[in-house]
Symmetry: C2
Subunit: 238 residues, 2 copies
């Protein structure tokens, strides 16, 4: 029997028509589709492909055992997630070894942060895994902002707002262009860091989604999960 | 008469099926298509859409007046390019003001480096301009490398190899994950900077194209224009 392939498919930032043509074709023809979600929610990845799946599709939702209930640096967090990824990977591996292709839905790009990578490292030694790159959430965010992010020889830094405040401030001060992800509970810290670095940022919420909104970061008091802060580069422009 | 729209359309990294569904639709239905190229060449953007254009399409190739003949910091370089962008923008503006929609083909993502941005700033005060984000060359490069680029709280730095060697070395030493673009003539300098920073990098040539190739940077003696160096992040992975 020929082994099936696990496809890690980047869905792009949130609008179905910002999926690549290759991703669109794989999603529409898939017999097996797997995706992460918070337990009890539909999840963003599954929402993006709504109305695109085959009538006889077999869905494998992967419900995170924890999200924010256990702090990130508590050893129980890593243990719980590690067991979860092992279980998910074993299921997908068994499907592939049984000759089935599987599409794993990944928001944005599969190799740029995100959870698919934890399956990839567990699966790729055993079964064929192919990755379809996707449009990142940050690319949708800078498109929404109406300004190019990098010009000429600009340096771009992508940093998570989870960094310690001092490091965040230093990174913001030392870069030409900036993207900050994972804002959520770190919004107040990020605002202080941007101000301390003497820079101006915008916050893009729900880029490429119907609720898309762009505001100066300093005007924002709470940030949803799908929000990205940007500082635009000012490099060479003939 | 209703004014037409100029669409800055990200074509992705080089394979036609890595264009977004939205880009694919715009390209196939366009009556007017514009693209940059080196004089005398077809150009990468035009190559990607080969076979997709309407039979009655009107093409507007924009031939760069200079590429590497004049050094980047010579004032004549900026003057020559500035006049060129003005001419191109005036042509596209006239089309839009005459009621025509125009698709400007942009490799990768239109707001991430690249030439479209120089038209955007000149056109957007006068006529409607819409940007369709695209899959970046770097996303295709890290997919080709077979390893995720960023994990957990990794910081990613995107730097052009045109930076002075000391700054390049410092940026490489201080980041978790790295992407280097604009390598070409700067390959030897980049190799020294990576070694001085004590890091290991891979070079991805022609990502998402038939000639795709991945090698340790230290083994490489010359780099084509479409090459990107990567250092993979080593962040949290439960």
């Amino acid at each position: 029997m020929t082994c099936g392939t696990v496809h890690g498919v980047g869905l792009g930032p949130g609008s179905a028509d910002l999926m690549s043509v290759r991703a669109d074709r794989l999603v529409r023809s898939a017999r097996h589709v797997a995706y992460f979600r918070k337990a009890g929610k539909q999840g963003q990845a599954r929402r993006i492909v709504d109305g695109m799946l085959r009538a006889d599709v077999v869905e494998y939702p992967m419900d995170y055992p924890v999200t924010t209930e256990i702090p990130l640096h508590d050893p129980r967090y890593a243990q719980s997630l590690s067991g979860f990824y092992e279980t998910c990977a074993a299921h997908l591996r068994a499907l592939a070894e049984g000759g089935e292709d599987v599409v794993v839905l990944a928001e944005g790009d599969p190799f740029f942060y995100g959870s698919f990578m934890h399956l990839y490292t567990r699966l790729s030694p055993h079964v064929p895994v192919r990755v379809v790159p996707g449009i990142t959430g940050m690319a949708a965010a800078w498109a929404a902002s109406g300004q190019p992010i990098t010009w000429g020889d600009d340096v771009l830094t992508v940093a998570p707002a989870t960094l310690p405040e001092g490091e965040l401030t230093r990174r913001i001060a030392e870069t030409d262009a900036l993207v900050v992800m994972k804002i959520g509970q770190n919004l107040a810290k990020l605002k202080r860091a941007v101000a301390a670095a003497g820079r101006q940022a915008v916050l893009v919420e729900f880029a490429a989604m119907p609720e898309e909104r762009v505001r100066p970061l300093e005007d924002v008091d709470s940030a949803p999960y799908f929000s990205i802060a940007l500082i635009h580069g000012q490099g060479r422009r003939p």
